[in-house]
Amino acid sequence: MKHALPILVVLLAACSGDGGDSDDGQSGFVARGRALFARNGCQTCHGDQGRGDGGLAASLTQRPRDFRDRSAYRNGYQVEEIAASIAEGLPPAMPAYSHLSGQTRLLLARFIASLQVEGFEEVAGAMVRVEAAWARASLPPHQTAAVFMVLRNESSAEAALVGAVAEAADSVEFHLTSNAGDMMQMRRVGQLAIPAGGNLQLVPGRLHLMLSGLRQPLLAGSRLPLRLQFADGEEIAVEAQVRQP
C-alpha cells in the first residue's frame, strides 16, 4: 500500500496536464480519499478500483455501480453529489455514512470522481470465457440440479449474464445461497455481473445455475449442454460435466 500511493499521485498528476500547479493539491486529496476508501471498508462491496466488484458485491440485491461510468451514478457524478450520496445512502444496499465527517465524505467523493472515465459506457461489448463447468448429478426426485462454473471476462467492459437455457430442463435460474444469521437461504437473482478483466465464480454454497423441471435424471458421467445469454446479445454454448453429488 505504501508503494501504491506515490505511484497513484504521479499518474494522476500526469493525466491532468492542463491544470498546472494547482493539481498537486488536487491529487493529494485524491490519494487521501483512496486511503479513506480502504479504511472505511468501501472496497468490500465496491472493489478496490471502484468497479463494483468487491467480494460481497454479488450477494447484494442491487449491485454497486462501476464508478468509471458516469451514467451509472444515481444521484449525479459531481463531487458534491457523490458526497451527498455517501451521507444519505442509496437504498437498498448502500448504507448512509452520516457518521463520517463532511471533510471525509468530500475526500471520498473526490477519489471516486477521479475514477470516472469519459465515454466509458461506449466501451465495446464484452467477451466472456467459461471454464470448469460442471453439474451436480440430480438427486431423487430428480426435479432440480445445480450447475457451477467460472466465467472470465477478458474485455474492458463489465458483462452481464442475463439468462441461460438447457434442453434438459424447463427453466434455468441464477440462485444465490447465503447464510443470514445462521439461516441458510437461497434466492433467485435476476442477472449476474462479471467485472471487466475479472471473473465470477459459481461455486457450491454460494452461486449456481439452478435447473428446474428436469426432463430426466442427470447422471454422473454424462454431459449437459447449456446456452448462456448475455446482456449485449452474445450467446455462449457450454457443456457441463455431470459429477457425483
Partner: protein, 182 residues
C-alpha cells in the same frame, strides 16, 4: 455497516484453514431426546445412539445446493474419523419428505446417514428444542424453497450437544473438533 460485517466474515472464512487452533467443546442446554421416523419407516429416538458420537443437521431433500454440499462434507468428516460418526439428517419439509423420498435421496450419497421425518408438529417440536429455525418461502405449491438453520450439531455419547458447527467450517476442522469428544 454491511461493508464492515462483510470484512469480518471474510476474515473468519480465512481463519478456517488454520488447523493449529481447534476450538474446545462446550455443553449446550439446547437439544435432547426426540421421537421421529427414519427412512425405513421405523420409529427413531436419539437414545438409540447412546454411546456414539452424532452429527445432526436440518435440511430437506429438495434443497438443491446447501444440503448436498453438507452431506458430502460430512461424508468426508466421517472418512477422517474412520467411519465412527453417526450422521442424522432431520427434514424440515415433512410435506414432501416422506420416508420413501428420504430413502431414495440419501442412498445417492456415499455415507451411511439416518434420515428423519415426522409430522409437522413433531418437526416443529424438534427444531424448537434445538434452537433451530426454518421458514418456507412461498413460490409455487410444489416448488417452494425453505430457509433453514445451517448449523451442524455435535452430540456426544450421552446425548448432550457439545459444539455447533457453522456451514463454513472445513471438514478437517470438524473432524478435529469431533475427535475431542471423550
Amino acid at each position: 455497516m454491511k461493508a464492515a460485517l462483510g470484512l469480518v466474515l471474510l476474515l473468519a472464512a480465512g481463519g478456517c484453514g488454520d488447523h493449529a487452533v481447534v476450538p474446545p467443546l462446550d455443553r449446550y442446554e439446547l437439544g435432547g431426546e426426540f421421537s421421529l421416523t427414519d427412512q425405513a419407516g421405523e420409529p427413531f429416538q436419539l437414545d438409540a445412539l447412546r454411546g456414539q458420537v452424532v452429527a445432526l443437521f436440518f435440511g430437506y431433500t429438495y434443497c438443491p445446493d446447501f444440503c448436498p454440499l453438507t452431506l458430502s462434507k460430512l461424508s468426508r468428516v466421517n472418512e477422517l474419523l474412520d467411519d465412527q460418526l453417526q450422521v442424522l439428517f432431520v427434514s424440515v419439509d415433512p410435506d414432501r419428505d416422506d420416508t420413501a423420498q428420504l430413502r431414495a435421496y440419501l442412498s445417492a450419497f456415499d455415507l451411511s446417514v439416518t434420515g428423519l421425518t415426522g409430522t409437522a408438529e413433531q418437526i416443529a417440536q424438534v427444531t424448537r428444542q434445538y434452537g433451530a429455525g426454518f421458514r418456507r418461502q412461498e413460490e409455487g405449491e410444489t416448488s417452494y424453497i425453505i430457509d433453514h438453520t445451517s448449523r451442524t450439531y455435535l452430540i456426544d455419547r450421552e446425548g448432550v450437544v457439545r459444539y455447533l458447527f457453522s456451514s463454513e467450517d472445513a471438514a478437517e476442522l470438524m473432524a478435529a473438533v469431533i475427535e475431542q469428544v471423550p
